[in-house]
Amino acid sequence: MWDASQPKATAPMIVEDWDRLTFRVNREAYRSEGIFAREREAIWSRHWLYLGHETEIANPNDFVVRTLAGRPLIFCRDSTGEVRAFLNSCPHRGTVLCRETQGSSKLFQCFYHAWTFRNTGDVAAIPDEQAYQAGEDFRAAMRLRAVPQLASHEGFVFVSFNPDVRPLLDHLGEAADYLTMIEEQHVGGMQTLPGVQLYSVRGNWKLAVENAMDGYHFSPTHNTFVGYLRESGYAVTDDDQYAYNLGNGHSLLVLTGHGGRISMIWEPRFGADERVRTQAHRAEMAERLGERRAHYVADESHILYVFPNLLLFDIEGLSIRQLEPVAAEQTDVRAWQLVPRDEEPAARALRMKTVVSFVGPGGLATPDDIEAYEAVQRGIDATAGDARSGLDYSDMSRGMLDEVKGVQGRSIDEGAMRGFWRRWVDAVGIPDGLHSSGERPASFLEGREMR
């Protein structure tokens, strides 16, 4: 096994060859607990992480508990309405403070010695407090531990365990506008619904990222889903669709040929009533946003990856997917459906049915994705430790010529994955992690020009 404390310059994580136009990723990146530990430190403890959506805690005193980067947290709205994130661990001796998964409460009381805290973090009561000599200082020192940084953009709440993390908007960069576009889809904005898909895959988290940015797998992997769409009268195509590196490790797959969009692009399986609703809503969008903006918001599907743990599937409907790595070979996944706040019941029902017909571990498509990354995780055992040079590497070379020419990469190529891996190797800070031979382009296309 590769030892994170002693990186070997002889086995780089990424090998780029600009003469042969090949890009290879060292499979230790998916299986090494050493690298996993290094990621925890260099990525999950240093960057912004998606925590949750403001509408999950819509009212003052609402809370949910959630483990993020391995740390149990309380995500709550305090009694004044402010969104907060605390470590879900009693400052006294570390007991899990809140053992409910969600609810509404002004106070959190630790069962062990009954210390009680307000949802602002203040100590409300310490039984027999006079036994502590320091008085008010003691109380002040025993406030709930807040996560060092918390910021929100368009309802999406991010936290960082790094007090010196850069401002959230700097981190989001071009991804920020795609979150804004989601909020702009409907007058009144969007909200999450109850009914959260909680599941866990036996695969490294980066396989889930690759899969989401991989338009190449759609036809073969989702053969049965494509068949279902075709039979219902929708012609699936991969033509003229692109994958963008948005910078900072974020990426975007723009898809127009993979299916309709509830209330924005009608397709036959949505039914006649939805056609009428779609026309009206699309016209309202053009009026409200201007036709050019409405076009980008409505007329294309987006799969947005926000480094490192957020995937937004803005396709038939909208799913938020959060990745929570638990070990090198296991990832917990959480998925919320994000819907227009104001939506008539028939449209809502169609949306809920359509969204989960594709996404989630019971859908007609996601199980095949899960099968893919679990099969990769098992399959790469075959080459572990194989001394033959270059064997223990996965290939992601498709479309490298476009990178040389400075041309935008297609959705069915692997450019978005390469962008992710280049950012990853930089972020984990493995010395000589990337080996490049031949003439490397001076720069890579980043961002998307919206004309």
Binding site: P194, L198, N223, W336, P361, G362, L364
Partner: protein
């Protein structure tokens, strides 16, 4: 809604249905699913029927207003069966090996032509060197017809807090 009015028998419209009849229906279904006989399985449904698996945080909300694992109307249910019969349903090719236990069957009158049936299930699934257990509760609506019972709503409610690693719902639960 009334519990069986004479011991072990529930009357729906003019028809008396015994609990063994309901149990036999559920046992037969378990055999059909374990044997991967999906056409036979679909024949256990009345036209327009639904198949639902709520998420593990389920608290009695409507699938039309919430996220779900499975929220199949009749069209999707047939698409699901068609998919499972295809060699291209990669998540179930090769198919999971399953073994189902059904117990604690209770029968209630739902309407003039339907029963509400609750039962406990344990489904063991073997695949890829892993052995998972899915535990939960059925809450079905069964239409009572002259030639037997048919699913009107087939609902599997998981007892888990979350799907454990490697577990998925690519087969019928």
């Amino acid at each position: 809604m009334t519990l069986a009015n004479s011991y072990g028998t529930t009357t729906v419209g003019a028809r008396a249905v015994s609990r063994p009849e309901v149990e036999d229906f559920l046992y037969a279904e378990a055999d059909i699913l374990d044997a991967w006989r999906y056409d036979d399985w679909l024949a256990l449904f009345e036209e327009g029927a639904r198949y639902e698996i709520p998420t593990t945080d389920y608290r009695r909300w409507s699938p039309h207003e919430s996220g779900s694992f499975v929220n199949d109307d009749w069209d999707l249910l047939r698409a699901r069966v068609k998919r499972l019969k295809s060699r291209k349903a990669h998540a179930e090719n090769p198919p999971s090996r399953t073994h189902r236990l059904v117990s604690n069957v209770r029968v209630f009158e739902e309407s003039t032509d339907a029963l509400r049936v609750t039962a406990s299930f344990v489904v063991h699934r073997a695949r890829d060197g892993q052995f998972d257990t899915y535990v939960g509760r059925y809450e079905h609506l069964l239409a009572v017809t002259d030639d037997g019972l048919r699913f009107r709503l087939r609902r599997s409610i998981l007892g888990h807090e979350a799907l454990p690693a490697g577990a998925r719902l690519s087969f019928i639960l």
